[in-house]
Symmetry: C2
Subunit: 205 residues, 2 copies
């Protein structure tokens, strides 16, 4: 990993902890193991580092965009997978989504930046909502619509079903961002949630 990349990486970590304003250029440089002025050979100024992080994030987001094939989720995939969805499969899907969001190296740090800057910067607010509310919900909704249509799930109001499925994932995700020690507890609650959800909405029981 070259210096330019390491600057970006350390800056991302620091911005995720403290927010943009609380991080000093000298601090980033120190983490990288150089002096502040050297850093200006790699980036024009502090803002340019931040912008590079955003760019990198956009790149990665596009990469895995339609490819929210996280944990194998893909609503256009073979019907049979979902028409006979099992409780275990639902646990796998939900847990996979949660763990991906929580641990993906770049995603998790960037989410913290979004969290910190959301009230200060409307663009970040939009990205946050799109990535952690509307996005997952519309994706899950597609999946559930398909499952309802194929008879795997029984319910008319897919919006509501999706909200009830996803909201606990979201709440426990933001909890673990704040308190990483509570991951095991969160995973345990989530599994119970998914199994209960499957019992409520599943036709196969």
């Amino acid at each position: 990993m070259n210096t330019k990349h390491r600057i970006l990486d350390e800056a991302l970590t620091l911005f995720a902890q403290k927010g943009y304003a609380n991080v000093y250029v000298g601090e980033i440089a120190e983490k990288v193991g150089i002096k502040a002025p050297s850093l200006y050979k790699h980036y024009k100024n502090k803002q340019a580092i931040f912008d590079a992080i955003i760019d990198e994030m956009n790149k990665r987001y596009e990469k895995q965009a339609g490819a929210l094939n996280i944990s194998g989720m893909n609503p256009s995939a073979d019907a049979s997978v979902y028409s006979s969805i099992s409780e275990d499969k639902l646990v796998e899907i939900g847990t996979g989504l949660f763990l991906y969001f929580l641990h993906d190296d770049y995603t998790s740090r960037f989410r913290k930046i979004l969290t910190i800057e959301q009230f200060h910067n409307k663009e970040f607010a939009n990205i946050y909502t799109s990535q952690y509310v509307d996005g997952p919900i519309s994706y899950q909704k597609m999946l559930f619509q398909f499952m309802v249509a194929s008879g795997a799930f029984n319910h008319a109001d897919v919006d509501l079903m999706t909200l009830q499925f996803y909201a606990p994932i979201y709440m426990l995700l933001t909890l673990c961002d704040r308190e990483p020690d509570r991951e095991a507890e969160a995973l345990e609650m989530l599994e119970k949630h998914f199994r209960q959800f499957s019992k409520i909405y599943g036709d196969t029981q």
Copy 2:
């Protein structure tokens, strides 16, 4: 409202928008209608303004602590209220909780500060979790335990039930903090959620 109080009020608004580091003393002073140096006659320094906000918040929190009698919720109240809880009552309780959190003048601004500073300051992280995760959940849990015991609700795992009840409130609350325009949409979803919840867990249907 005297100057000292107005400083605190304007600072609270600004800190909630930008976070502590992004707000300059001169900016607070300007909002109040004085010059920065005048502000130092009221508070020792910038940190003291911030500390005063925390103090004020703690005072208010204690005031309404056990008195989370928001929207009339009080699990030690007369049994009959909850043993025969109606769907409408559940909607009222849930919506009341949501709207209180969202609109209470002091609470809502302070929640944004907690959101912004949570990764930077462990104390804020603890307050956040206590006020918006563990607190509401343990309160709701008490209520549901009571309702299950009295036969109004049927379910063994009250923890899970509480998570499923509260998580959508939490997610839509943080959504509306970021996007106030979506309040009506959130309220509509919430009402559907509460009615569905009542159908799933209620014995009276």
